[in-house]
Amino acid sequence: MSSLGRAREKLSLRELGRPGRVDKLDRWVFPFAEAIVPAPKRLDWVREWQAELWQLRHDSRRRSREQNELAETLSLAHGLIADAAWLRWDWLKESARGSAAWCLTVLGFYCLLCAGMERALEGSWQAFLHSLTAHFMGSFVFVAVPAVFVAISTYPPRPLKCDSGHTHAGRRLSGRARWNLFLGVKVLLTLMLGFLATLVATVPVGLAIGPFAPWGLDWAELLMYALMVTVGMRWALLNQERRCHKCLRVMGQPTRVGPPSRNFLHWSGMELVCADGHGRLHVAEMQGSWCWYDRWVELDPAWQGLFGA
């Protein structure tokens, strides 16, 4: 039997006092609220609420004051669910913060937003699809391909060093496959966002310069594509560089290491750490032949006790 099961058995509300409104909560609301609480916090939550409900059941002063039993039960039920929902919401926020899934979700949302705006500007689905095809094949491809090539050749993606292709327990893809898949999808979404944002932005630009220089609109569009693709690719690669090799979460807690005045004698720069304690990233103050890339240092699992809750 699990520790949670033992705790529940030991502290079952029905064994703690005489039946009453608390039993209604125990039977209907408590299991529902318990299911909402995230698993790592569930045992403590159950213990805390059972102790609190025991107090309520055995507080004779409170019982004698209560006029409306139904209102009190409803208020308690609301309390149970509100507390459980807050814990779940906070846990979801913490889990999503800096994660790969959140990054892709935000990029996808902005793509959909830009596509929706472009569809609204075009007026019909047919015109929208025609505009997408014409601009994509007519100009975007000619700018994006060389811009992507330049971005990757000037800032090549760092090879993954911590994982030799083994699959982690409970995961279908190896660390390397997840790393590459995330980078690929992120680059695709970034390029798509650059394309769609440029399409939307060309409408006000066209209104502004169209009457004076109709030929300038095509050049402005090409320039905006080049800018969007270059900036987007640079961001995607830098963002990948600052992620944990194991969990793909953005690394944080930046700390300065080493005095910059001794740059030629000793390493100096910034150190970032994975919130789950998987590793550290050394970002050199000055790149040199000895340090072209940020240096990833994997932490032994023994360190993980110092990180997270």
Partner: protein
């Protein structure tokens, strides 16, 4: 969290904690706030480092024939925020009585 961002409910809870009230139902009793306000606020205060919690020793709970409670206390940062909140809302001191005896 500065006192400028504190809601009245949170200021009342901080005051109750500073006066020695330690667990959820005790705070509901003394503040009159519903459980749907008290518990999420306590979680938020704990996450923000203004409050810390610890479990009562099992022997103490067994001696009183009840389940062990989770007790909340103000941290140093919590005490600072509580004193700022008391300056901002002076009536808080009169609203909540000092705790005289340990609740059983």
């Amino acid at each position: 969290m500065s006192s400028g961002k504190l809601s009245h409910s949170v200021a009342i809870l901080l005051k109750a904690l500073s006066l020695g009230y330690q667990f959820g139902f005790e705070m509901m009793e003394v503040t009159g706030l519903p459980s749907g306000t008290v518990y999420p606020a306590l979680r938020r205060l704990e996450r923000d480092g203004l409050v810390s919690s610890n479990w009562e020793a099992t022997e103490d709970a067994v001696k009183e024939q009840r389940p062990a409670r989770r007790y909340y206390v103000l941290t140093r940062a919590g005490r600072e925020v509580e004193s700022m909140a008391t300056k901002r809302y002076p009536l808080l001191s009169r609203l909540i009585p000092q705790k005289l005896v340990k609740t059983t």
